[in-house]
Amino acid sequence: MIKTDILIIGAGPTGLFAVFEAGLLKLKCHLIDALPQAGGQCSEIYPKKPIYDIPGFPDILAGELVDNLMEQIKPFQPGFTLGERAETIEKLEDDTFVVTTNKGTKHQAPIVAIAGGLGSFEPRKPLLEDLSKFEDKGIAYIIKDPEVYRNKSVVIAGGGDSALDWSIFLADVASEVTLVHRRNEFRGALDSVEKVQELKNQGKINLITPAEIVGLQGEDNLQAVVIKKAGDHEKEFTLAVDNFIPLFGLSPKLGPIGDWGLEIEKNAIRVDNSLDYQTNIPGIYAIGDVNTYPGKLKLILCGFHEATLMCQSAYQRIFPDKKYVMKYTTVGGVTGFDGSKKEAPKAVVKAIE
């Protein structure tokens, strides 16, 4: 069981900044995120896009903002459970919560802060009959262990970086790699596109474009896919394969959090914005894009503010008898849990003769 003071669900900018504000109050944080890396949408969807409305930054790339936040919270040593989705929540008799992920990892904390953005990122699944029947029986959306594909014939569908990169990687592992994409053009890093071209020329990747997979065949396990080739030579044919890996990117889904008994409105969690962004369940807060209230704006800068007020309320909840006065970092400095100390340099007091 992982124990912490504030369990943050979602490691996007809002969740990350909450670690800093909690740290100033000497509260420890642990973050859960379904993605394998921190940063949420900023890392997953648009790391190379500039943001112009982060106060104090005329422009900053989304990926840089995440790097900066990670640097800023480092002294507070947050824990991370990445690549796992928060699945269930249970309230114990001592008023603490236990959140369990889809992989069974358990986390306990007196405060849960949901900073889940638009939800957890789930693979986009193609619309094919019998798709679910073959899931884990030849079809996978995420490659966990490439060795599974050794000496197998694999078909990959998609036109982005992950489809390109995995085709390249599996070309050396699988007995046969076929890459199917709806258009001739791929959207990915130039290196990857050129490498696939090279492997295609060498006959190591079988490229079928423009085409799409329109059917699945097999008894228990997947045995073949039906490919429909478009363009001048329109035809449908069957390709015997052991594995099919559709890589159509990820899309966010509110997911299991929607079943936690929280008040949901417009696909977001209703919170008390007049006070502390607490939900209808005391001890559970929702901050950033995942919450809603009158006048809500889904902006990173609003998430930062919400995270700050949430931490103050969490502190009062954990220490109801303690009196606390907010201290400016300029005055109090930043004392990390790792023993580091940042503070304003002392002014010199010296007479000038």
Partner: protein, 110 residues
């Protein structure tokens, strides 16, 4: 600048004739959201960067639309329910020459 009339068929098949402003730097996805013709969280998920297909729509009138950008082409190539007349609403800027535009929202992805 004035408003233009647009006919939007929502995902339930209900047709709405609405006024869209041309002087507020809005795109079609934002117009749909401002009239709440699709539930929040099911349209414009990426915010208008052509990085999701939640604002996909079918163009039903004969209007000349600006060419698709590479990003829009690439996104539509990975989207579901795509037809020849599919476009991403977030890439269609509201301008006076779109008066009378008729579109239908594509189904939400499962």
């Amino acid at each position: 600048m004035s408003d233009i009339k647009i006919k939007i068929t929502d995902r339930e098949g209900v047709s709405h004739e609405i006024d869209a402003p041309t002087d507020m730097n809005m795109n079609l996805m934002e117009v749909v959201r401002s009239y709440e013709l699709a539930p929040e969280g099911t349209i414009g998920i990426c915010g208008g960067m052509a990085m999701c297909a939640s604002c996909q729509c079918y163009i039903k009138s004969e209007h000349e639309l600006p060419e698709k950008s590479d990003d829009e082409e690439a996104m539509l190539a990975e989207a579901f329910y795509v037809k020849d007349n599919s476009r991403l609403g977030c890439q269609i800027h509201m301008s006076e020459d779109l008066d009378g535009l008729e579109v239908a929202l594509a189904p939400a992805e499962p």
